[in-house]
Amino acid sequence: MATDLTENASLGEINKYDFITPSHDVFKAEKGLNAQIVGQISEMKQEPAWMREFRLESFKIFESKPMPNWGGDIGIDFQDIYYYLKPANEQGRTWDDVPQEIKDTFDKLGIPEAEKKYLAGVKAQFESEVVYGSLQEDLGKKGVIFTDTDTAIKEHPDLLREYFGKIIPPSDNKFAALNSAVWSGGSFIYVPPGVKIEFPLQAYFRINAEQMGQFERTLIIVDEGAEVHYVEGCTAPMYTTESLHSAVVEIMVKKNGRCRYTTIQNWANNIYNLVTKRAMAYENALMEWIDGNLGSQLTMKYPAVYMMEPGARGEILSIAFSSKGQHQDAGAKVVHCAPNTKSRIISKSISKNGGRSSYRGLCKVEDGAVGSKSNVVCDALILDPESRSDTYPYIEVDEQDVQIEHEASVSRIGEEQLFYLMSRGLTEAEASSMIVSGFIEPLIKELPMEYAVEMNRLIELQMEGSVG
């Protein structure tokens, strides 16, 4: 009875993301992938020769690599995807410069409003290109760069080239190679020594077209003693055919620097989300990944921290929520390459309505990384018998003098817990929802207020109508 009402009521909310913007593309590459299309993308972007070569070389690597035979079921037809779609001629510096229908999209998603309230800078990417960008003036004066990666090639060529493709080379994996060949958009951030950015920088990625591939490429360089918090959100409308999102994110955190990268991924449930994210942390630097995966059909994503010099730290908090037809294969990688480095991984996954969540993690300690410590905790909550959870922890230790801890727990939502809450007047749906929000509370409280609210709201949406 009450459940029907809620389901109907919640549809409107879920549809908040599920709308299609009628847009007039400026340029759309032919469907499919070959060296010619790769070259065409480079040409459209009027790139320097080295980038064109990088793309073509990456395409060869992509072709030579087999599909991964682990993780999830990747049923992608690479020839049935559009690889490049340019939605607007110019990037807007104010929202008024952005084509009306695209501006409307981001209005509906609440981006301009958030920007006014609590962000230091925003990038909004629609299909293949960043259509809007802003940065607080004082940060620009301090030498902070926050631009899209295409612009960075033109405006900061030396800085970009020094790091681009160095942290994640195209040969790293098939999808890193694909991204390297056809990448477009993404953020480029440079924070000069000692500059601490108080408010988050945000990027929002929106796929609008059907059978679209989005391949943004992000590079963040945090110089010595600098600090930044970068947040990304992602959504797409629901089509009958799948789309592909395959990003590469490279981060360099130099001595005493700090970087926090927060993702709240809420792709439509027919998006393949295959992303490579890696950071290198130098002496006493701290890299934190906060990775929330709620949407997509299949996500394979394992944010990594390579601790390159003594005292470096890596922390990864991961939340995965998988419902009907979804598989979240998410996790983390920490690699201790130097003495006295520390890492911590906390992973929480929730599976319901036949959803599947897997934790896949690697903890590697290299020879000589004495005194290193790693602590991994993964907890899974399964809401019904149709759902599934797996844990694949890989530990490779080549050093004696280290401290490695790994704990894993799987629990089913308890009949006793449900009954207890129901005996206090909560409906079954409210009770499960409360148990789930309690389960992820340790992670939610790590998020800045606004994102915690957003995350809680998304979890509530996922939970609504789940019982009955």
Binding site: A2, F419, R424, G438
Partner: protein, 270 residues
């Protein structure tokens, strides 16, 4: 009209094993009943069956609230209709703050027609009331920020149950060994609180082995359960007899129930 919780010839099985074998009990609002009996006689089973635990299968008989059959209702609906149980071992809900949980619960029970997602009672009003009730129970305000029953001591759990009862103001309350695990002072405070909350407002069923909780909550009726049946009902004097002398006289007087008790203890998996 007096409000009534009426249990008639109730038979209950757990995992296919019969536990209750025909329980009859009528509680009027404003009355206090004590339910005593040896361990495993079915006292908690009665409480869980009345509250609507899905694991307790009603094989025959009825439970009626003011003439309405509650067996069709789930625990949510029973709670909203004014039935409450203070559990012997309440569940921990990690990550959920007492205050958030209680605000939902209080809203739902006071506004039984509330649909999910509708407004909760205003924060200010709720907080004021909760703070008053907690002071009354000599609970630290910090308590409201702790996670529901997570890492609570035995005494804290029991006090939290009484706090919930105070907030929810049920018509009928079953207190399942709310005195166990409490020291003398805590029992005194608990029994005082129950008397204050209860007064003439509630029909109370106190399940206990001790006399302390009954000191300030003198039962109008004392029932003895043996082998899944209420075999004898008496006054407060019966309660006094049982906690001084034990159940030997009862077993001798009701050989059939005593045999059932033996059978139940043999098949018990615990």
């Amino acid at each position: 009209m007096t409000e009534t919780l009426k249990i008639t010839d109730l038979h209950v099985s757990v995992e296919g094993k019969p536990i209750l074998r025909g329980v009859n009990l009528t509680i009027n609002r404003g009355e206090t009943h004590a339910l005593m009996g040896p361990n495993g006689s079915g006292k908690s089973t009665l409480g869980n069956a009345v509250m609507g635990h899905p694991g307790y299968e009603i094989t025959s008989g009825s439970i009626e609230l003011n003439g309405e059959n509650v067996l069709e209702w789930d625990a949510t609906e029973r709670a909203r209709a004014g039935i409450f149980m203070a559990f012997q071992r309440p569940m921990a809900i990690p990550g959920v703050k007492m205050a958030d949980f209680l605000r939902h619960a209080t809203t739902n029970v006071r506004n039984p027609d509330r649909k999910e997602g509708e407004e909760l009672i205003p924060m200010r009003q709720f907080r004021k009331e909760l703070t008053e009730k907690m002071e009354h129970l000599r609970m630290d305000v910090e308590f409201a920020r702790r996670y529901v029953n997570d890492g609570f001591s035995g005494g804290e759990m029991k006090r939290a149950e009484i706090l919930q009862m105070a907030m929810l103001r049920p018509k009928f309350a079953i207190l399942d060994e709310t005195d166990s695990g409490l020291d003398v002072d805590a029992v005194k405070l608990a029994s005082q609180s129950i008397a204050e909350i209860g007064g003439e407002q509630m029909g109370i069923l106190i399940i206990t082995h001790h006399d302390k909780l009954l000191d300030r909550n003198a039962p109008d009726f004392t029932h003895v359960m043996l082998g899944g049946k209420i075999v004898e009902t008496g006054s407060v004097e019966l309660a006094k007899e049982l906690y001084t002398d034990g159940y030997d006289r009862i077993r001798a007087a009701y050989p059939e129930a005593a045999a059932a008790e033996e059978e139940m203890s043999e098949t018990a998996t615990v």
